[in-house]
Symmetry: C2
């Protein structure tokens, strides 16, 4: 059984071409089978689908998510959605808001518990995704037509990310395991939508003790090769708890 009044949606952010991207899908009943493996759950969800023209249209994209099965923990199910959609697990995923306006979905009363996730789409190339072919990255400022209040949810997620990033070092999740300081700086510039001073940024980041010098360098770049860093998971977890002042 699924809960007809509750859906779980994930706003999956990626960082690509120096832009923030969002992973979206055009949900089709067939795809639901990947999430709702129980036949009855699938049938129930399909029925809801059939009732809602927006969900059957080819024109509209939406957030990746489904109704919540009765027997799944909320947080676990969000992880499952992420896993099926991207093939990835153990990545940053956070519940940030539940949307519950009365008329947000036509003809139905649905609350959506929304999560946002951060992944690096170059590093994680979605090969493992069960629905890779039905899913697409969109730059945050070039979103397609979206169903329901997906757009609002995306921008609330972005706002939450922008706040979060100021006090917690979450931004690292959007980078490959080994990254340059310039990449890191660009990431922060894009998220915060402002220019940062290179020297000051480097000083601040390096003083945090979060970076590990991998002793490797970029190769095949037509300029001085940058050092590659990874970040120290132990110190990251510590700082995450303490609520480091990460304002930049």
């Amino acid at each position: 059984m699924i809960l007809k009044n509750v859906s779980v949606d994930c706003v999956i952010f990626g960082f690509q071409n120096d832009k923030i991207n969002v992973l979206l899908w055009q949900a089709q009943p067939g795809l639901l089978k990947k999430f709702l493996t129980n036949t009855q759950e699938y049938e129930e969800s399909k029925e809801i689908f059939d009732k809602n023209p927006a969900l059957k249209s080819d024109q509209f994209w939406g957030l990746i998510g489904t109704h919540l099965p009765t027997d799944d923990d909320l947080d676990d199910y969000a992880k499952k959605i992420l896993k099926v959609a991207t093939g990835l697990k153990d990545i940053f995923l956070k519940q940030f808001q539940t949307f519950g306006s009365k008329d947000r979905v036509p003809h139905m009363r649905v609350l959506t518990v929304a999560y946002y996730a951060l992944i690096n789409p170059e590093y994680h190339n979605l090969e493992l995704s069960s629905i890779a072919k039905s899913v697409k990255w969109f730059e945050i400022d070039k979103l397609p037509e979206l169903i329901f209040d997906s757009k609002e949810i995306i921008f609330r997620a972005l706002k939450t990310l922008r706040e979060e990033v100021q006090y917690h070092p979450v931004g690292f999740h959007l980078l490959p395991e080994k990254f340059t300081l310039t990449q890191l700086q660009t990431l922060y510039e894009v998220i915060l939508d402002k220019q940062l001073d290179t020297r000051n940024f480097r000083k601040k980041i390096q003083n945090m003790g979060l970076l590990i010098d991998t002793n490797e360098k970029q190769t095949n770049v037509a300029h001085r090769a940058a050092k590659l860093y990874s970040f120290d998971v132990k110190i990251y977890n510590q700082l995450k708890e303490e609520g480091l002042n990460f304002r930049i």
Copy 2:
């Protein structure tokens, strides 16, 4: 109609006797009428009540809340709960998390969308509450036996408040309209659970431009009377948006 799988609960924080307090109730079917004015909604909710022994016991207290009526906006309904429980409106109320573990409520699948509110119980004496007699303040470290996962929800709310208070000047909501700097400092000391330096605290607060000197003083105190301040709503709103660094 109500949504059988969704409840809305409010963690109502007050500041009294230099302690953080929480407003709780022992829900009884009769009280539900104050919230669920539609007869059918009341009956549905009562039925759920009757099924759950914990809700009928005299021993257990719980968070104030009910199932969500089908025709209410989620946020509006949280406001309504607060209004009925305390008689107050236009006070600080924030959705902070949705709890959705599978077995958090016995025999039923219920997600709880949790909000927390900040009020000053001395100033707002609950006279206007429709259910004042059925409601009681508890000090945060002297909580009674609580139903379901209410305790977890309360402590998650407290954690959220502790984080929030570091970056946004929310603490003001817990004080009377006119307050002394010592009261404000004590409030922060209690919320953050650490001692603060008086001189530095005052300097910091006063530099924020958030305080208005009312030119009044305490009366009938057996020591030098403290100045009373109120706070500047306009600047408050501004700072709230900007995400002021309020670390103390």
